[in-house]
Amino acid sequence: MTEAFSVKQYLRDLKLPFCPGCGAFTVINAFLKAVYESGYTDLSKFVFCSGIGCSSWIPSPYFKADSIHTLHGRSIPVATGVKLMRPNLNVVVFGGDGDIVGIGLSHFIHAARRNLDVLVIMVNNMIYGMTGGQVAPTTPFKTKTTTTPYGSFEHPLDAAKLAVTAGANYAARWTTAHQNELKEAVKKALEMKGFRFIEVVSQCPTAFGRRAGFKDAGEMVRWFKVNSITIKQTKNLNEEDIAKKIVVGEFIQKRRPTLIETIYNTIKEAQKTEEN
């Protein structure tokens, strides 16, 4: 690594579409820095799949790489087909909370169950941003959104915990206030196999912060920082208090046999049986 890191070496010469203050800039920076520090000078060993929503635009078409911008919620199935037929490529899925654990939830659970060899980075801005700020499966209880004008009457989903339950090899949650931890999580995930999930709690000053009473993006990021607690710190708290916090850290790290391993072993066995 003789040259200094610059995101430009990995990006097409296009203007990024995100609002000022959007957390996507932080995610792009942390991800590409992790790629750089992992020794990849370009993205030729990567394929990016994304769905519909603001964060699905992170790789597509801005990354100088192969990218498949799929339908809303369907990035993981498409990534499944890509990975199974091109097992040597790093398949990375980018998506928002609505995309990955709203409309696409079933694919998320099943990919984790299969231990499909993909890294899913879910940018959780707790809102449907692209459509203007509707309630999401991750919106905190009582938050005002355009479709919950009196405050949300539902409780949010804990996606990282769900990934653990479903069988992921790796699951972590950080926020845009934890840039270094996020970068390190990506580096670790890139070295692992199987289903790897990183949730990044991110600020949407335009569609979330404004209605939730935040002055600007900076105030949101500061709130992430003071409101985050580690997994260890949750041990002394009750469920109600934990629900008010953002629990950050690594939820699981293990080596369960992955889908690529099991499916290609099955092919070998089928061919052996056939020969006998």
């Binding site: 339908l71 199935p77 099943h110 092919i267």
Partner: protein, 383 residues
């Protein structure tokens, strides 16, 4: 065991379809169990691993076609198989495959709908869904087999058309054609025409335009291909507000099908220039035709027919020809009039177009019923 050896076999339609897919180079199958299409998934699950391919059961039909689309961009020929309810779930993704020019094959083994309907019984109710099921302006390529032999032959053709035109192709089968067993002649693999997608040359950058059917790279080949279902330019870059970019893209996508109807729309026809009564039929229903021609002739009624082996794009020209000769055209279908209106449109008033419909319980339109209808219409004369 590799691909099926040439010879004469006694196969189920589903098996013939699966073996044809394997022979033409399909190495990826993703599906979800559904009557009466499950046999295709089962056969692929058994056979694909034997030749190094992958068959996977996904969590639903949406995931199934998604995985097939991903596999296609990874360079593989992919297929999924389903029936009406699953076909409905796949519609959004079929539009995505059309918009992104992703070759893939979708088998719809029709059953009696709407909704769950009669899951185990034959129907032909998905004809219009196969044409107009996804949203927006698009052109469908839909093939209609009427025998186990054609489950083989038209599956081969479905893959070839998908690869040649870079578009999703539907094999619109039905419960009868997929479940029955018949004699099938399997040709040696050397004699099977196999078309593969055109690949880009080093340095190529336009994978979504410039040519009517642009070259298609795979991911991982260094082309930095950007695939999107949003409106995009020749280089795959999103342009969601520019009317010209959208117009140019969607007109080309439709044009690459509509400008080649002559090649894509395949029919079998008989005495269309010398008949009094014409029949336009397709799929399992068309099997009744062969039994009635002679019987009608002995009673003094000359019958000609067009059997649609391709439903979409619709072969207007041959229907027009039939309408110039025949006084009446009967359209037997196992639905409540779907191809009927297309025939009527194409006939342009040159012949009287008469529907003949039967639904429910998987009861086919029998040769006797068809013969009675022909004789009745011949006797009635022109209205």
């Amino acid at each position: 065991m590799g691909t099926l050896k040439s010879g004469i076999y006694f196969l189920q339609g589903s098996e013939a379809c699966a073996e044809a897919a394997i022979m033409v180079g399909c190495r990826f199958f993703a599906g979800y169990p559904i009557t009466p299409a499950t046999e295709i998934a089962e056969h692929m699950a058994k056979r694909l691993p034997q030749i190094g391919g992958i068959a996977i059961q996904m969590e639903d039909e949406i995931a199934s076609i998604g995985a097939v689309i991903g596999a296609s961009w990874a360079g593989a020929k992919g297929m999924t198989a389903t029936s009406g309810p699953g076909f409905s779930l796949m519609q959004e993704s079929i539009g995505y495959a059309f918009m992104t020019e992703t070759p893939c094959v979708i088998v719809d083994v029709q059953r009696a709908g709407p909704s769950t309907g009669q899951a185990t019984k034959c129907g032909q109710g998905d004809v219009m869904q196969s044409r107009w099921g996804t949203h927006g302006d698009y052109s469908a390529v839909v093939l209609s087999p009427n025998s186990v032999q054609e489950m083989f032959d038209l599956t081969v053709r479905a893959f070839n058309l998908a690869e040649k035109y870079r578009t999703p192709v539907v094999l619109l089968s039905d419960e009868v054609t997929a479940h029955m067993r018949e004699r099938v002649v399997i040709p040696p693999i050397k004699k099977v025409e196999i078309i593969n997608r055109k690949k880009p040359k080093r340095g190529d950058k336009a994978f979504f335009g410039l040519e009517e059917v642009p070259p298609m790279p795979s991911v991982g080949e260094g082309f930095n291909v950007a695939v999107t279902g949003s409106t995009h330019n020749e280089y795959g870059i999103r342009f969601t507000a520019d009317p010209l970019v959208h117009r140019k893209l969607v007109e080309r996508l439709n044009g690459k099908i509509q400008n080649h109807i002559g090649e894509i729309a395949d029919v079998e026809s008989y005495k269309i220039d010398d008949c009094q009564i014409g029949i336009v039929s397709y799929g399992c229903t068309s099997r009744a035709i062969y039994d009635v021609i002679e019987a009608a002739e002995t009673k003094g009624v000359k019958v000609g027919y067009v059997r649609l082996k391709t439903l979409w794009p619709f072969p207007d020209e041959i229907i027009k020809k039939l309408a110039e000769t025949a006084n009446k055209i009967i359209v037997p279908e196992m639905n409540l009039r779907q191809i009927f209106y297309e025939v009527k449109r194409a006939a342009e008033g040159q012949a009287q177009v008469i529907p003949m419909n039967k639904i429910g319980g998987g009861e086919l339109i029998t040769p006797e019923e068809l013969l009675d209808k022909i004789l009745e219409e011949a006797k009635k004369g022109n209205d």
